[in-house]
């Protein structure tokens, strides 16, 4: 019964999302203001673009993304630790500190290599 209730909440959220999207499309279709050629181009100070804006660029934040994934996984390991650390006591505390310290060394290494700079 509880599972069914949770499922109904998910269904409600899904239905609301779809309804919002459809409502947006309906409003957009009713708006009788089609964009003209000058309105469609990006603003760059008043001059029309000479080159198409579709281009490939280097996603330099990928190192940050990898670091985020690392610490995201760290949290996964900490959940079971949180369950047992009271019964295990000081040993568990020491082990988690060692675990986090190893990860922190990775951050310090990335910092030293200037991987955290946006550029």
């Amino acid at each position: 019964m509880v599972a069914l209730a949770a499922f109904s909440v998910i269904l409600a959220i899904l239905g609301s999302s779809i309804a919002l999207v459809l409502a947006g499309r309906w409003v957009a279709a009713r708006a009788d203001l089609p964009a003209t050629a000058p309105e469609r181009v990006p603003f760059s100070g008043g001059l029309p673009p000479e080159v198409h804006a579709w281009n490939r660029f280097h996603a330099r934040y990928y190192v940050m993304a990898l670091l985020f994934l690392t610490f995201d996984m760290e949290m996964v390991y900490m959940f079971p630790w949180a369950v047992v650390f009271r019964s295990e006591g000081t040993v568990a505390i020491g082990e988690i500190f060692v675990f986090i310290s190893i990860l922190a060394l990775g951050i310090l290494y990335a910092w030293r290599e200037r991987s955290l700079g946006w550029s």
Binding site: A37, P38, G46, H58
Partner: protein, 435 residues
């Protein structure tokens, strides 16, 4: 509540909100920025996309008429235009008859708010496009994603070629570089300045000045003191020192308000713009402002180490840019009347964006002090007056390219804004406004 009543209520609420404004600056608009930014009822935006009111301040040269029309057309509906004459010429060109015309001494704030309210409530029709709805070339898309040809970069949609590849300046990974022309109404660039920039991601890969700032436009720098001194900066008559220094403080504060807005510090920008409109007569009135700016870690973090100009380049730029780099060059140091006032040039050391805003803020405080001490003192006829913003160097384009290539676009715009060249100054006009 019916749908019609709900719409009416929403419209009334929207009409009471801050009016989103895009400012297109023309000739004779020295204080346009400050007057709009100081108003709590207006919100000055950097793009016309989100604006509802286009304020055209001053006279717009003929060659900028089409870019201005394109800026107008790029505003979303509903939209209105307020033409704010700054040089006595209140007649907008043909095709702009729909615009509200406001004189240089009229209440621009009230006019913009009224135009916004009318166009939101439907009392005034949204303005139609000025340029024809014609693409520069057919789309001719044949690929599954409408890319205009075969392959990722094979087509020329709307006659615009796809981005080509170029060397990367950071880690050597060769990817696309995009050519873009920025200006002449791009916020935070001098009026009329058109840059041709090649971007590799967000980094300036190459930069060329295609059109210099429009000569005669005083948006970045009014003459000293405002209109009383000619562009020669060595008038053949005596000029009150207090008037010169108050005008200097006013110009520095206007510039600072624009820079703070560029960095997203709108509350501080509004405060500084208010001070610029009514320059305090006592330097202590800027003490609290100075403390707030010095303690603003976001401003320091964003400006420190950015746009460093030192050595020969700083000397070429002159004025506050040179003094921010530690070069104590100031015409006032050789003036007898300034000697009696105990004038000493203020200098900073690093020559970056941070030191440039600190330099101008310190000079604004110093100018108010000098004005307070000067009383009725006047300069000698023929004496060279130190401008608040000197003309750009002779090789303006080369200097900008050397400074900005390799930087991120945000830092590049902030650096150009921090230089604040006065295109009205004699040195610029005598060169025929070329770069």
């Amino acid at each position: 509540m019916t749908a019609r009543a709900s719409a009416g209520w929403l419209t009334a609420v929207a009409a009471r909100a801050e009016a989103p404004v895009f400012l297109a600056r023309g000739i004779g608009t020295a204080d346009a920025d400050a007057r709009l930014r100081a108003s709590p009822r207006l919100r000055v935006l950097d793009s016309p996309r989100a604006a509802a009111v286009l304020v055209v301040a001053g006279c717009v040269p003929t060659e900028l008429a089409e870019p201005l029309a394109r800026v107008h057309d790029q505003m979303a509906h509903p939209r209105a235009t307020v033409w704010w004459s700054g040089a006595g010429d209140s007649a907008p060109p043909v095709g702009w008859s729909h615009a509200t015309i406001v004189g240089p001494r009229d209440d621009i704030e009230a006019a913009v708010v009224a135009a916004y309210r009318d166009v939101i409530t439907g009392a005034r029709c949204s303005e139609q496009t000025l340029l024809p709805d014609v693409d520069p070339a057919p789309w001719r898309g044949v690929g599954p994603y409408g890319h205009g040809g075969t392959g990722m970069t094979g087509g020329i949609p709307y006659g615009r070629p796809m981005a080509g590849r170029g060397d990367d300046r950071r880690d050597g990974l060769t990817l696309d570089v995009v050519l873009a022309r920025i200006g002449p109404f791009f916020a935070h660039l001098p009026e009329g300045l058109v840059l041709e920039v090649t971007f590799a991601g967000d980094v300036v890969h190459d930069l060329t000045v295609k059109t210099p700032p429009v000569a005669g436009v005083d948006g970045l720098g009014a003459r000293l003191p405002d209109d009383a001194v000619t562009a020669t900066m060595a008038p053949d008559r005596a000029v009150p020192v207090a008037a010169i220094e108050l005008a200097r403080a006013r110009q520095h504060l206007r510039w600072l308000a624009r820079l703070l807005h560029l960095y997203g510090l709108d509350a501080l920008a509004r405060l500084v713009a208010t001070k610029a409109l009514s320059v305090p007569r006592e330097p202590q009135e800027l003490t609290a402002l100075t403390r707030r700016l010095e303690r603003c870690w976001a401003l320091g973090w964003a400006t420190r180490g950015v746009g460093v100009i030192d050595g020969v380049s700083a000397a070429l730029w002159g004025g506050p840019v040179a003094r921010a780099a530690g070069i104590p060059r100031d015409a006032r140091a050789n003036s007898p009347v300034y000697a009696t006032l105990g004038f000493q040039p203020i200098v900073h050391a690093n020559g970056d964006n941070c030191d440039r805003w600190r330099q101008r803020l310190a000079e604004a405080v110093q100018a108010i002090e000098l004005a307070a001490r000067a009383g009725t003192a006047v300069t000698e006829p023929g004496e060279t007056i130190e401008p608040a913003a000197p003309p750009p160097p002779a090789d303006f384009g080369d200097q900008l390219a050397a400074l900005l290539i390799g930087t991120e676009w945000g830092d590049a715009v902030a650096t150009i804004a921090s230089l604040d060249p006065d295109v009205n100054a004699a040195g610029y006009l005598s060169k025929g406004a070329t770069v």
